[in-house]
Symmetry: C2
């Protein structure tokens, strides 16, 4: 029920997933059944053999606090989803709604994996070399160094899942390359990461991440969210400037027409829909968070990514790597020290 | 002596300033006199009637800690510059060197303005509507709410100086529009700003700042620096993708050739050289910090902006507005409470 174009886009994406993903056993559609009936019928989902319908009376609105899922709106589609995950009735959940509410409900209800204190959102971004993982893209606004160290490990696992590459280069987002540069939290995190069996390449900066300095870029969710949204905003603004610059006179317009495929290529690089959504890593279960303005294609891809995360046992990998890196022990020492 | 292309670009910029800015009374060139003699002679600066030469034996390197200017390298060009400012031998200083060192030396030696606890770097960035001021772009990595509130006032004054507009719309950079969204520091800052005689429009986000949501965007220097560098990095990356997309086949190449003025327009929007440098606001004196890779044009513009800041008495404006907003009192109450 969440997101800017719910339930239409969500259900269209669900229909796509049912037709394309033959490994899908069951798709549970959680929402206000009366309100979605029209689209369910239209898309022939109402009596689909793989569809199960679960009612949820309310919806978390964007203006609601994240905790609404646990207090005022415990009958929301978000809360009901998280309960299904907690009770192992589903392996994965997908939402295009209120990010904070999705984080709160799945963290509190499904709980975190052993060794993980807080989950984090991992998102894939383009750079000159290909793509990199940014973690945390918005789950935690205030982080301790051991949180960031755990994010680094989860990011490494996710990179391996998506790109099939082991030993990803992990960089810590800061304001200078040297270890003495940063704020109090990043300087401590630098020390923690340096002592872990991880391919830690040191600090990376806002400019170098786009040159391909690291495969995994670690930061707290406040900075990650500002960064992600700024890049979206700037990219959109550049396209606006481009359009403006290319329509100023007939000659430029002709040039733009000849090169129209170049614009299409450019749009594809920034196409968030092909990723579908960003996983909330560290949850005991799989939770994929989509953009509020998710298209049907984005919803389809989010469902696909959710299934793949289950299939390739990403959470087992995270638990194993966390134990290897000993970051949960480290954390306890710090807390006691 | 600082920056990637010192002393060549610095001195070329100085020569430009001397030829163009007739209101310039005296230009003091601080540096290792032997090392700069070649360029000084070549650019006919050595015996220029408006040039005064001051020797500085060492240079702060990028790998040095910011505190080097106060401990190991007290004879650096940066330290000598800050001393000239402290002793009122100059009205303003300009540097393209180590940002942290410039902040440390001018803060400690020249001190801050009455009512200002920490100075902040204000930088001008483009958006769809025109331009906005980002403050702090990198002077302080860890900030308290009253620091951010002071930055807001300084940003408002700078916006007025540069664009001649009173009552600038001040936004607080956060992860959601609502006042409940943010980290601990921004939530407290939101309350402080709401109580001040200031055109505070609330939280702004990474995407909305490029749509023109605010004239002044306030954040701590860690986030500001990451944001600034990310945008630089992404812009450069988009130009790289553009070039790639426009050279894939002969038709696209022809299109690009026809529209070459469009690319020129685009480059101009992102041209940092026309701003020259970013002021370190809140210092008792004027300090302009240039990009490490400053071109002669950028150095010239930094000198121009330095002179204009003195001419239009920006610091008097800041002191007056800080007193009106009562933020220094507010701060003391908070510290005592």
């Amino acid at each position: 029920m969440g997101g800017d174009f719910a339930p239409a886009n969500i259900l269209e994406g669900a229909a796509l997933a049912l037709s394309k993903l033959d490994w899908l056993d069951e798709l549970v559609l959680v929402g206000h059944q009366e309100k979605i009936a029209f689209y369910m019928d239209k898309l022939e989902l109402s009596w689909h053999p793989k569809v199960r319908k679960v009612h949820a009376a309310s919806v978390v609105e964007m203006r609601d606090p994240s905790t609404a899922v646990l207090r005022g709106k415990r009958d929301s589609s978000m809360t009901v989803c998280a309960k299904l995950l907690r009770d192992r009735e589903v392996d994965a959940i997908v939402s295009a709604g209120h990010t904070g509410a999705a984080v709160a409900s799945s963290t509190v209800l499904a709980r975190t994996l052993p060794g993980i204190d807080r989950p984090a959102i991992a998102t894939i971004m383009p750079n000159m070399q290909g793509r990199f993982v940014l973690i945390d893209a918005g789950a935690n606004t205030d982080c301790k160094p051991f949180n960031l160290a755990q994010f680094a490990i989860m990011g490494e696992c996710y990179y391996r899942l998506v790109f099939g590459v082991e030993n990803a280069r992990v960089g810590l987002l800061s304001v200078g390359g040297e270890d003495i540069k940063g704020n109090e939290v990043t300087k401590e995190t630098f020390k923690l990461l340096s002592g872990m069996p991880l391919n830690f390449i040191g600090n990376v900066e806002g400019n170098t991440i786009f040159e391909g300095a690291a495969d995994v870029v670690v930061c707290d969710g406040f900075i990650g969210n500002v960064l992600l949204k700024s890049c979206e905003g700037l990219a959109r603004t550049v396209m606006y400037w481009l359009k403006d610059a290319f329509t100023k006179d007939p000659i430029r317009k002709t040039g733009a027409m000849l090169a129209k495929n170049a614009f299409r290529d450019l749009k594809e690089i920034g196409d968030a829909d092909s990723c579908g959504g960003a996983p909330l890593l560290g949850i005991n279960g799989v939770c994929i968070i989509g953009h509020g303005s998710s298209s049907p294609k984005a919803v389809y891809n989010a469902i696909r990514v959710a299934g793949e995360s289950v299939k390739y046992r990403m959470n087992d990998m995270i638990v194993k790597r966390i134990a290897e890196c000993g970051i949960n022990l480290e954390k306890k020492n710090l807390a006691e020290g």
